[in-house]
């Protein structure tokens, strides 16, 4: 199979009018036969989280590529944890080198990485994951934290976990993260279910393995920041569907789609209220891997 990637992020109306920077960020790329798509959403009320979001995504990319170089494995159950450790090492060093504060690093990290044998999605924080099937089916998984207080990986890396647990009532077993799964099959029939994760499970993050068999049925895997759920007067499912309705898939396909989506969304309201970001992996049938690695 061929793997292609693209990503884009845009500032939302709220940050635009309040003079704040865009605190969402997304990157994607390919490396040695795998592809990755990473999104981060910085905490609005923390520090320089626009920087944090960027450092988190780039450190995640570095960790994914490094892990793949060393182990050649992104399908075993231990891969996400090993990548997480690699990322923390990279991130901690960069933060201190740049003189940034722990609160500058308060940003989510959701990513997908896939190769010929499959892969996985790991959501650490909130956002939306999409699996688009070749037959037209679609699965959207939305992650929301109670009290709009999402987990940020920096809580673990910077020893801030007790504060976060206290903010959620102090009980690690209490439900704190909601996963809403909306599916639409090829015939157009849709259904929705939801389940709660405990605070402890939410901190570990939502893990979505992608088997080789499943990957072969997919045309796109996409990761969105929670900005997709806050487009004025557009339901989050419709927003995701529209952002995945690529008119052409050459080059900057996700960037084009998001630009046009945001333009058209202004017909019905203010468009994205919050910053919005997404990163997409396109799975195309047989052939060569994307020509150039993205420099990890």
């Amino acid at each position: 199979m061929k793997l292609f990637t693209d990503d884009h992020f845009l500032i939302g109306a709220m940050h635009l009018t309040s003079g704040k920077p865009c605190q969402d960020y997304a990157i994607s790329g390919s490396f040695g036969g795998i592809a990755y798509a990473i999104v981060s959403d910085g905490c609005s009320s923390a520090g320089l989280t626009d920087m944090g979001a960027r450092l988190i995504t780039h450190s995640a990319a570095r960790a994914i590529c490094g892990h793949w170089s060393v182990s050649g494995d992104i399908v075993s159950a231990s891969a996400p944890q090993e990548i997480e450790i690699d990322q923390e090492i990279v991130l901690g060093g960069i933060r201190q080198t740049l003189g940034l504060l722990p609160q500058d690093m308060l940003a989510t990290c959701a990513y997908a990485c896939v190769g010929a044998e499959g892969g996985f999605v790991h959501v650490r924080g909130d956002g939306v994951v999409a699996f688009v099937e070749k037959d037209g089916g679609l699965m959207l998984l939305r992650y929301d934290w109670a009290n709009n207080t999402p987990f940020y990986p920096a809580y673990l890396a910077e020893n801030l976990l007790p504060t976060f647990i206290s903010a959620h009532g102090g009980d690690p077993d209490a439900p704190a993260l909601t996963e809403t799964v909306w599916t639409k099959d090829a015939s157009g029939k849709s259904s929705e279910t939801s389940r709660r994760y405990s605070l402890k499970a939410g901190i570990a993050g939502a893990m979505l393995p992608i088997s080789r068999e499943r990957l072969e049925k997919l045309s796109f895997v996409a990761i969105f920041s929670d900005g997709v759920t806050q487009v004025e007067n557009i339901d989050w499912r419709d927003a995701a569907v529209q952002l995945l309705s690529f008119k052409s898939v050459g080059g900057l396909f996700a960037k084009r789609r998001m630009i046009r989506f945001v333009q058209t969304s202004h017909a019905s309201g203010k468009g994205p209220i919050d910053d919005i970001a997404y990163a997409v992996i396109r799975i195309a049938p047989d052939g060569k891997q994307k020509g150039e690695d993205s420099g990890c």
Binding site: F246, S248, G250, G251, L252, R256, I259
Partner: protein
Amino acid sequence: MPRLDQSNDMQNFNAGRGGFAFTGARFDKLGSTDYTLVTIAVDETGSTLGFERELAKMLRTAVDACRKNPRSDNILLRVIYFSSKYKDGVSEIHGFKPLADIDTSAYPVPSPGGLTPLCDATYSSLHATNVYGQQLADQDFGVNAIFFIITDGAENDSTATMQMVKTEQERARTSEQLESLISILVGINAKPCQAALDQFKDEAGITHYRDAGDATPRNLAKLAAFVSASVSSQSQALGTGGPSQNIAAVI
């Protein structure tokens, strides 16, 4: 005249009245987010005899200069020659294609002959821009456009009517697929027919008329610089919602 576009990277478009076909880069070969469509229509009528080599040189210089534009990757350029000796008055040298794929050394020196089908040249430029621009926009690309009609004479033999030109102008204005469209009629050696060209410009809805003066090497070099600078301005305006503002009033 042979077309230079025989590669699989180009696609034929046959839509339109009067058989005004054109070619354009296949959409799956385009990877950027937005494009400026540029058309340069060059007069190849009998009256250009004597400065046809200079015209070809001007064209090559203009296109080569466009490559130095920082947004050269976001430009798709089409070149046509016009004369009544061609069917529908127009011969497409190449369709809308990325600058990197254009070999200006392969541009043929015009072979002067025939009358001046100014309506055909304008209609072909407008129609191809509208059709291709619409399809690009449908594929989520941002699009604006600029075209140049370089002539030394007034309209005297076209297949397309002025009404067809007006209809295409109206379509360009109302479809909202093109973020902006600038059209420039350039007169070269055209002093005797300037009044007719002015009238044509107004009637056809062309946005600017520029008199490039006599067909001297110096004036043609200035014309090449004007063309590339105007393309650059229009390309940089893409995404701002309006046309470029800094097209020079005088060449």
